[in-house]
C-alpha cells in the first residue's frame, strides 16, 4: 500500500499531470467563485477535454478543479450574501453578517484555512479508508437513510432561534415544497399547477437565492449604504486574515468534528456538499454553549460549513472509486471520466490501479492547499467590495443573483421562483420567522420520502429494528432531549437568547404569514386526497402536524398582538418597526419599487432576451436609482454584456430565453 501511495505521489507531480492540476485549480477557483457556475458545471464542461489525456492527468485536471470550488464559492457568500454554489448556502448565515461588521478579511481567513484543512483531511481519509470502508457503505441502505433524514430534521430546533414552534412549522412547509413534482413511487405529479416547470420539483438554487439573497439586496437598495457598516479606515485587512486563520485553530475541535461530518456524509451514496454544509452548520449551533452570535456573524458558523463542504469531497470519492457508486452529483460525472479512460471503479482500483487511486488522494490534498493559499493572497483585494456604495454594487450583485438562478434550469420559471421566494424570504425576515429550517425540510423531504417508501416495500416494519436504525433512533432521542434542555435554559436566561437567522419581527406580519402557511397546508391536505394512498401518505404525514403547529402559531401571534394592544407586555413582544401594515412606509414603497425593477427585467427578457434586459437593467438602475452619470452606467452595462458573452455564451454555453421580438 505504501508503495502505491508513493507511486501515486510521483504520478501526481509528474508532467503533464501537475500542469493539468494547476490548470484545474485555476478553473476551479473560477467555477466556484462565479454564482451560477459550480463544481458540477465545471465537471460537465471539462469532461470532454479529458478524452485524449492519460488517467492521472485526467483526474488531476478534474479533481483539481472540483476540490477548490467549495473554497472559492465562499467569496460571494461572505462578501455579498450570495452563495456562489449550493454548497456555500449555510456560509451566508454568518459569513455575510461578518462582512457587514467589516470583518470580511477575518471571515475569508477562516473560510479558506478551514476549507484547506477540511479538504486535506478528506483527501487523507479517502486514501486511507478505501480498502476498509466496504462494510460502512454497504450497511447504509434505505432504512438508515430515512433515519438519517429524521436525525437531520432534529436540527430544526437549533436553526429556529427564538421560536421552535415557528421553526417546526416552516420545516413542515419546506417538506411540503419538496413534494412538488412527480411522486417518488408512481409517476403522478403533485402540486404541479399544470406547469411542466414544476413537474421536476422546485430547483434548490433559486429557492435559496430568493429566501436569503433577495432580502439582503432589498435591504441594500433601500438603505444605499455599503455592505460594511464599519468605515474602511477602521478595518485592517492583513490582521483580519490572521485573526480568521487563528479562529480555525482556536475552534480546532469544531473543525475536526465538521470534517468528520463532511467525510461521513460524503461516503454515503448521493449525499453531497449541499447537505454536508447544512448539517455541519446545524451541528455547530447545536453543540455551541453560547449561541447568541449565530446568524449575527459568529465565526464558528463559517468554520463548520466551510470545513465540511471540502472534506465531503474526499468522502465522496470513496464509494465512487471503490464500488462505482457516486457519492454525489459531481462524482456521477467523474464516473464518466472513468468510462472515458476505460477504467472500471471497483476492485481494479484497489489492486492493479491502486496508484491511480492514490494519485487522486494527492491531487485533493495539493489542490486544497494551493487553492487556499492563492485565494488568501487575494483577500485584501476581494474585501474592498464591501466598502463600495450599495447603489454602485447592487446592479452587479443582482446580475449574478439572476444569472445564478437562471443557470439552475435555463427556464423563466427559475426567475419566477426566485422572485416568489424573494417575497417569502423578505416577509419571513421582517416577520421574525426562521428561514434555515425551510431549506432543511426542502432538502431532506425527497430523500426521506423515497427512503421510507422503499424501506416499507422491501422490509415491511422490520426495518425499524435494524441495528444502525436503532442507533440513529437513540441519537435522535438524545439530540431532542438536549435541544429541549438547552431551549428551557435559553428561556430562563434572557441574555443568551439564540436568534440564529430569525429575529424579533413584526407581529402583525408574522400573524399574516402564519395564516398564509395554514392556508397553504390546508390546500396541500385537501389536494392530496385525489391521489392513491402511497402517493398521499408522506405529504399527509407531515402536513397534518404542521397545520396544527401553524394554527398554534396563529394563536400565539394573535395573543401577542392583543396583549401589546392592551399594553400588557409592551416592549417584549413585537418590535415596532417602520414595516407596519397600516399605511405604506417609505421602506415598503422602496421595496415594492425594487421588486418592480426585477419584474421589469423579466418582462424585457421575454420580449428582447437577457442580452438586452440585463445590461439595460444595470444602466437604468445606476442612472435612475443610483443617480450616477451615463458614462459610468454605459461602461458598467457594457461590462455586464461582456461577462454574459464571455462567461455564459463562450465558456459555458447557456440556453437563454427565446425572446419574442428577436429573430
Amino acid at each position: 500500500m505504501l508503495e502505491s501511495a508513493v507511486a501515486g505521489l510521483i504520478a501526481a507531480v509528474q508532467w503533464p499531470a501537475v500542469g493539468y492540476l494547476f490548470l484545474g485549480i485555476a478553473l476551479g477557483i473560477y467555477f466556484g467563485a462565479v454564482p451560477g457556475l459550480s463544481g458540477l458545471t465545471g465537471m460537465a464542461i471539462l469532461l470532454p477535454f479529458t478524452f485524449g489525456m492519460d488517467p492521472v492527468s485526467a483526474f488531476s485536471f478534474l479533481l483539481g478543479m472540483y476540490a477548490v470550488t467549495t473554497t472559492s464559492d465562499s467569496i460571494t457568500a461572505i462578501l455579498i450574501g450570495v452563495p456562489a454554489g449550493a454548497a456555500a448556502q449555510a456560509t451566508v448565515l454568518d459569513g455575510y453578517p461578518m462582512a457587514k461588521r467589516g470583518e470580511a478579511a477575518r471571515a475569508f481567513g477562516a473560510a479558506f484555512t478551514c476549507s484547506a484543512i477540511g479538504g486535506v483531511l478528506g483527501g487523507l481519509f479517502m486514501g486511507l479508508s478505501i480498502p476498509i470502508v466496504q462494510p460502512l457503505v454497504l450497511s447504509f441502505a434505505k432504512p438508515e437513510f430515512f433515519m438519517l433524514g429524521l436525525l437531520g430534521l432534529t436540527m430544526v430546533g437549533s436553526l429556529s432561534g427564538r421560536s421552535v414552534l415557528k421553526g417546526l412549522t416552516v420545516a413542515g412547509l419546506g417538506l411540503l415544497l419538496s413534494q412538488i413534482g412527480y411522486a417518488e413511487q408512481i409517476a403522478i405529479p403533485r402540486y404541479w399547477m399544470n406547469s411542466i416547470y414544476l413537474l421536476d420539483g422546485l430547483p434548490l438554487v433559486p429557492v435559496v437565492l430568493g429566501l436569503f439573497s433577495l432580502p439582503e439586496l432589498v435591504a441594500l437598495a433601500v438603505s444605499n449604504r455599503s455592505i460594511s457598516d464599519v468605515p474602511r479606515e477602521k478595518i485592517s485587512g492583513g490582521s483580519g486574515i490572521w485573526l480568521g486563520v487563528k479562529d480555525c485553530f482556536i475552534h480546532w475541535w469544531l473543525l475536526l468534528r465538521s470534517a468528520v461530518i463532511g467525510m461521513y456524509i460524503g461516503i454515503l451514496p448521493a449525499l453531497g456538499p449541499t447537505i454536508a454544509d447544512w448539517v455541519a452548520y446545524g451541528h455547530a449551533v447545536q453543540s455551541a454553549k453560547d449561541k447568541s452570535q449565530f446568524g449575527k456573524g459568529d465565526v464558528r458558523g463559517v468554520i463548520a460549513p466551510e470545513t465540511a463542504n471540502n472534506s465531503v469531497k474526499g468522502g465522496d470519492l470513496v464509494p465512487t472509486v471503490a464500488f462505482g457508486i457516486p457519492g454525489s452529483a459531481g462524482m456521477a460525472i467523474l464516473l464518466g471520466a472513468f468510462l472515458i479512460q476505460g477504467l472500471t471503479p471497483g476492485p481494479e482500483m484497489l489492486t492493479t490501479k491502486l496508484h491511480i487511486t492514490f494519485s487522486m488522494m494527492w491531487t485533493l490534498i495539493f489542490a486544497n492547499i494551493i487553492g487556499a493559499v492563492l485565494l488568501m493572497a487575494w483577500t485584501n483585494q476581494l474585501q474592498k467590495i464591501i466598502f463600495v456604495p450599495a447603489n454602485l454594487i447592487l446592479p452587479g450583485i443582482t446580475f449574478f443573483v439572476l444569472i445564478g438562478a437562471w443557470t439552475a434550469g435555463n427556464n423563466i420559471g427559475d426567475w419566477i421562483t426566485l422572485l416568489v421566494f424573494g417575497v417569502i424570504g423578505l416577509v419571513m425576515k421582517k416577520a421574525g420567522w426562521p428561514r434555515a429550517p425551510l431549506i432543511l425540510g426542502f432538502i431532506l423531504g425527497r430523500i426521506m420520502e423515497n427512503s421510507l417508501h422503499i424501506s416499507m416495500a422491501a422490509y415491511g416494519m422490520s426495518w425499524i429494528f435494524r441495528p444502525i436504525c436503532i442507533g440513529i433512533a437513540i441519537a435522535i432521542v438524545v439530540t431532542l432531549a438536549y435541544a429541549i434542555r438547552s431551549h428551557m435554559r435559553m428561556k430562563a436566561d434572557k441574555t443568551t437568547v439564540d436568534v440564529t437567522d430569525a429575529d424579533a419581527g413584526n407581529d402583525r406580519l408574522s400573524l399574516g404569514f402564519a395564516v398564509a402557511v395554514c392556508l397553504v397546508l390546508a390546500y396541500a391536505i385537501v389536494a392530496s386526497f385525489a391521489w392513491p394512498p402511497t402517493v398521499r401518505l408522506f405529504p399527509l404525514a407531515f402536513s397534518i402536524p404542521a397545520i396544527i403547529l401553524a394554527a398554534f402559531a396563529v394563536f400565539v401571534d394573535w395573543r401577542s398582538i392583543r396583549l401589546v394592544g392592551a399594553g400588557a407586555v409592551a416592549g417584549v413582544a413585537g418590535t415596532p418597526t417602520t414595516f407596519g401594515l397600516g399605511g405604506l412606509s417609505q421602506e415598503w414603497r422602496r421595496t415594492f419599487y425594487f421588486f418592480g425593477w426585477l419584474l421589469g427585467v423579466i418582462a424585457v427578457t421575454v420580449l428582447l432576451g437577457q442580452h438586452v434586459a440585463l445590461p439595460l437593467f444595470i444602466a437604468l438602475y445606476l442612472m435612475v436609482w443610483g443617480k450616477y452619470r451615463w458614462p459610468l452606467a454605459l461602461g458598467y452595462a457594457a461590462a455586464g454584456l461582456v461577462l454574459l458573452v464571455v462567461l455564459f455564451d463562450y465558456m459555458s454555453p447557456t440556453t437563454w430565453y427565446p425572446a419574442i421580438l428577436l429573430p
Binding site: A44, I186, I196, P326, A332, G346, P347, A457, P658
Partner: protein, 359 residues
C-alpha cells in the same frame, strides 16, 4: 492543344465556381446544438458527448457541435424543449433516452409525442436481467431462479419501461415476487442489489458491462439470467450480437418450460413495452417538421459516424461493447409499431403499474 487546355481550364473554373451539392453547404459556418435529456454525467450524457465530439467531422460543412443538458421530469424537460421551443431549422437536435411506455400510454408532462419528432437514428441496446447468487435456496445457474419462493425485484418508478418489462417477464415465468419500485436511477438499483435490499434487477448493456459485471458478477455476487433482446427482422428475438453469451428471455422460458414459447397477455404486454426500447435505447431526434435537407444530411452524417474507427473505439471504451446503429428509416418502422399496439394491451399496461405497487 491550346484550345483544349483553355476548354479544360474553363471547365475547371466553371466547376469551381458552381455551388457544391446542396448538402455540403447546409451546415457550413453553423453551430449545431445537441440537447441531451438527462443531466451531465449520466450514461446518456457520456454517450452523447462522445458522439458530439466526433460528429462534426462527418457533417458536410463541418459545423460546430455543442452539447446542452436539459435533464428532469424523466427526460421530458428536454424532449418538450425540442418539440415546443427549438426551431425546426436543423440547427438543434436531441440525443435522448426515450420512454416508449410514456409514448404508448401518454403522460401528463409529455407535450410532444416522440412519434411527432423527426427520427434521425437510434442505438440498439439489449437489457440484461441479473440476480444475487445468495438468494435462497442458492442460485448457481440461471434456471435456479425457478426454485425460489419469493424474490424482491428492484426497479425505477412503477410506470417506467424498466419496471414494467421486468415484472411482466417474472409474471410470464409464473414466479412469486415483490416489486420494489421508486429507485431514482439504475445506479441506485445497482447499489441496492449490492446492499441486498433486493435480489433481482435489470440494467442496460453498458451498465452491465462497465459496472455490474466487473464489480458484482466477477466477484460472485450476482449472476446474469437472460437478455431481453431487440426484435429481429423476421419478428423473432435472436440473441443480440453484442451479448452473444447470454440466452434471450424466450430461450430461457423455453429451457424451463420444455421448449415452449412464451405466450399470453403478460408476455404480449411485456414485448409491447420493451421492444421499441431495446431496438432503440438511445435516439436522435429533430423537432417536428424539421428542415428536410437537414434531416437527410444529419441521417447520412450519423451513418458515416458509425463507420469512423476512432469514434467506435471511444464509444466502445465507454459502453464496453460495439454499438449497433439503427438507421432513421428502420427506426421509423419500429416507432410505427407502437401505434399498432392493441387497445386492450394498452389498458392492461395502464393498470399494471398501479396494481404492481399494491400487491
Amino acid at each position: 492543344m491550346l484550345r483544349k487546355m483553355l476548354i479544360a481550364a474553363g471547365l475547371v473554373a466553371l466547376v469551381a465556381a458552381m455551388p457544391g451539392p446542396a448538402l455540403s453547404q447546409f451546415y457550413k459556418g453553423k453551430t449545431v446544438t445537441m440537447i441531451i435529456n438527462y443531466p451531465a454525467g449520466g450514461p446518456t450524457d457520456i454517450e452523447g458527448r462522445i458522439i458530439a465530439h466526433h460528429l462534426a467531422a462527418h457533417i458536410p460543412g463541418k459545423p460546430t457541435v455543442i452539447v446542452k443538458n436539459m435533464g428532469g421530469a424523466g427526460g421530458m424537460i428536454g424532449s418538450n424543449f425540442l418539440g415546443e421551443i427549438a426551431k425546426p431549422d436543423g440547427e438543434t437536435f436531441g440525443f435522448f433516452t426515450w420512454n416508449p411506455v410514456a409514448e404508448l400510454l401518454g403522460d401528463p408532462g409529455m407535450r410532444v409525442r416522440f412519434s411527432d419528432f423527426a427520427l434521425l437514428a437510434g442505438v440498439e441496446n439489449p437489457v440484461v436481467v441479473y440476480m444475487r447468487k445468495d438468494t435462497a435456496p442458492g442460485i448457481h445457474i440461471a434456471t435456479d431462479i425457478m426454485k425460489t419462493k419469493e424474490i424482491k425485484a428492484l426497479s425505477l418508478d412503477s410506470h417506467n419501461t424498466n419496471t414494467i418489462h421486468q415484472a411482466l417477464s417474472l409474471d410470464t415465468l409464473g414466479l412469486k415476487f415483490r416489486a420494489i419500485t421508486g429507485y431514482r436511477g439504475l445506479k441506485e438499483v445497482e447499489t441496492a442489489i449490492l446492499q441486498n435490499e433486493g435480489q433481482l434487477a435489470n440494467s442496460s448493456l453498458p451498465g452491465w458491462r462497465a459496472s455490474i459485471e466487473p464489480t458484482m458478477a466477477k466477484q460472485g455476487i450476482v449472476i446474469p439470467l437472460w437478455q431481453v433482446a431487440p426484435p429481429g427482422k423476421s419478428g423473432n428475438y435472436p440473441r443480440s450480437a453484442v451479448v452473444p453469451e447470454l440466452p434471450t428471455f424466450e430461450e430461457f422460458y423455453g429451457s424451463v418450460n420444455g421448449g415452449k414459447k412464451p405466450t399470453g397477455v403478460a408476455y404480449e404486454a411485456m414485448r409491447s413495452a420493451i421492444d421499441a426500447q431495446t431496438a432503440m435505447f438511445r435516439t436522435f431526434f429533430m423537432p417536428p417538421k424539421a428542415n428536410k435537407e437537414a434531416i437527410s444530411t444529419m441521417r447520412a452524417a450519423i451513418v458515416a459516424l458509425w463507420k469512423d474507427k476512432a469514434f467506435i473505439a471511444d464509444y466502445s471504451k465507454a459502453v464496453k461493447s460495439d454499438p449497433v446503429l439503427v438507421s432513421g428509416e428502420d427506426g421509423e418502422v419500429i416507432m410505427s409499431g407502437l401505434a399498432k399496439v392493441k387497445p386492450e394491451i394498452k389498458t392492461f399496461l395502464r393498470d399494471y403499474g398501479t396494481r404492481l405497487v399494491k400487491r
